[in-house]
């Protein structure tokens, strides 16, 4: 599939918007969202959804960066990976697109650290502008990082789309056994995302919930919304009855304690 110049520009603009949205905290810089835009622009939403979803799950834990640290960027699989899968016309699966795009995600991560470092001189210029009471210049400098992000995003998206035929030629040189291997690896990569997020959230007391989720999914093949509902039911039960133990120790009536915990909830 050929990507026209206009499509490449649109993909550039979409990447620019999504990447800038990361600073605004509007969650556009997620694989699921990034790939959806690519799918709409290239007219292949099903492939884009498959790529976006598998990468979203794999990158769920990568977004975990405590205060100011930069994680690998979802633009890798969200834009580059999705482009690879769509333009290959079915030869590259969503899982192998994810595996192939990891180097890009890491490269963009370094690029972002570079931008933040580049911006480290801005506060000084802003202070200088304020000393001169030049408020327009001050506001310009205070918005400079987001502008740089948009520019970087545009070039990532545009160049990614524009060089896709070259990238496809490179990918074609990869032997079939390696592509199959990458596809298998791509299927395993989400394990890292789940494990990362679990390592932050999981406490000993929450292990029953992990078992509940596994059992519902593996033995009963419950859809995810169903799992969320079961999880909510048990979590609420725990919440409403957890105060009871202490109350029972002193009085036998449980009514007061449930009312208390309801008050706290509201």
């Amino acid at each position: 599939m050929h990507i026209s110049l206009i499509q490449a520009i649109l993909i550039g603009l979409w990447t620019a918007f999504c990447y800038a949205g990361m600073l605004w905290g509007i969650y556009t810089n997620r694989a699921l969202v990034l790939s959806f835009g690519v799918g709409v622009i290239l007219g292949d939403i099903p492939t884009a959804l498959a790529c976006g979803a598998v990468a979203e799950l794999a990158f769920m834990g990568f977004g975990v960066g405590a205060g100011g640290t930069v994680p690998p960027n979802p633009i890798g699989p969200g834009i580059i990976g999705t482009l690879l899968a769509i333009t290959s016309a079915g030869k590259i699966t969503a899982a192998s697109a994810l595996a192939l795009s990891i180097p890009f995600a890491v490269a963009i991560q370094f690029l972002q650290t570079f931008v933040y470092t580049l911006c480290a001189g801005f506060p000084e210029s802003a202070k200088k502008a304020l000393k001169a009471q030049n408020f327009t210049k001050y506001r310009l400098i205070s918005n400079a990082t987001v502008c740089l992000f948009a520019i970087v995003g545009f070039f990532l998206g545009f160049l990614g789309a524009y060089s896709m035929s070259t990238l496809q030629t490179l990918v074609k040189m990869i032997p079939q056994w390696l592509l199959t291997g990458l596809s298998v690896a791509g299927g395993m990569l989400p394990a890292i995302g789940f494990a990362m997020i679990m390592s932050v959230m999981l406490k000993k007391e929450f292990i029953p919930f992990a078992l509940l989720g596994y059992a519902l999914a593996a033995y009963f093949t419950t859809p995810v919304i169903g799992i969320a509902i079961f999880g909510t039911i048990v979590a609420l039960l725990v919440f409403f009855f957890s105060g009871k133990k202490d109350a029972n120790a002193t009085t036998s009536s449980a009514n007061t304690s449930t009312e208390e915990s309801r008050d706290d909830w509201i």
Partner: protein, 273 residues
């Protein structure tokens, strides 16, 4: 408090919404410092009117290092505005501004990054996998409506109740984030069992002595009988162990996974699902 107030409800709302701009000037020297003063710009402009020197000085003071969670920032800026409106100078406001930075970063990050985002991301990614075209749009809506509600809520809280609220806020947040974590863990465990794909490709035929037919032994089917999704769960547990106990970085995990995937696939032990 005495005297007429300069700021109206609308001013508080505007500053609350400007929390989206907190990272517009993010950099590695003062982090969100530039952003903080940018968020407060219209408020200071209104407060100091034509006194350009005072405005410039206030903005400059507020460019000092700052780093907190954008969704909980309105709580801080509302208090800051109320204090500035009451005539407090920067040193007084600074005490509270800096005291709130850490706790709200902790509460905010754990709630928005480790509870809300993973929950929505996993739910809508799996909807997308089952072919719901608009799942990415729903994801954006759910995420942003929730975060906007938090911003508006804490912004109004900060305005109305002042500094005494922070203790109660953090205890309530602890309960809410615990409940959210329970749901999140249930969902993520379920997803790990569903979406991590590992399939054993080994099959072999055996001819039993005396029997006429041959039977095909499929290792994956045998595993499924013991426990469905056994390999994906074991592999996720291995990753968890490496992160938690061995402190492996993401890079090492990705490299390990790619190598394991390629090698096991080349040896025909694993096949694509």
């Amino acid at each position: 408090m005495t005297g007429s107030k300069v700021f109206t409800k609308k001013d508080y709302l505007i500053t609350t919404l400007r929390a989206y701009f907190l990272q517009n000037g993010f950099n590695y020297s003062n982090y969100q410092g530039l952003g903080y003063s940018l968020v407060m710009y219209p408020a200071f402009k209104k407060l100091y009117g034509n006194d350009k020197a005072k405005l410039a000085k206030s903005l400059e003071e507020n460019t000092e290092f700052y780093n907190t969670n954008p969704n909980f920032l309105p709580f801080i800026t509302s208090i800051h505005m109320a204090m500035a409106d009451g005539g407090a100078d920067y040193q007084e406001a600074r005490g509270i501004k800096m005291a709130l930075m850490g706790p709200l970063a902790g509460i905010g990050d754990s709630l928005s990054q480790f509870c809300i985002a993973p929950l929505f991301s996993s739910i809508f990614a799996s909807l997308a996998m089952s072919g719901v075209t608009l799942a990415p749009i729903f994801f954006l809506l759910a995420e942003n409506i929730t975060l906007l509600a938090i911003k508006l809520g804490v912004g109004a809280y900060g305005h109305k109740l002042g500094t005494s609220m922070i203790d109660k806020l953090s205890s309530q947040m602890a309960v809410i984030s615990d409940t959210a974590a329970m749901i999140g863990i249930t969902v993520i465990a379920g997803l790990a069992a569903t979406f991590v794909k590992m399939k054993v490709g080994i099959t072999y035929t055996v001819t039993a002595k005396g029997a006429t037919g041959k039977s095909v032994i499929d290792i994956q089917q045998m595993l499924d009988k013991i426990a469905p999704a056994l390999l994906p769960v074991l592999y996720t547990l291995l990753m968890y162990y490496l992160i938690k106990k061995r402190h492996w970085t993401t890079y090492k995990l990705v490299i390990l996974t790619v190598i394991v995937g390629i090698v096991l696939s080349a040896l025909k032990i694993l096949t694509t699902a």
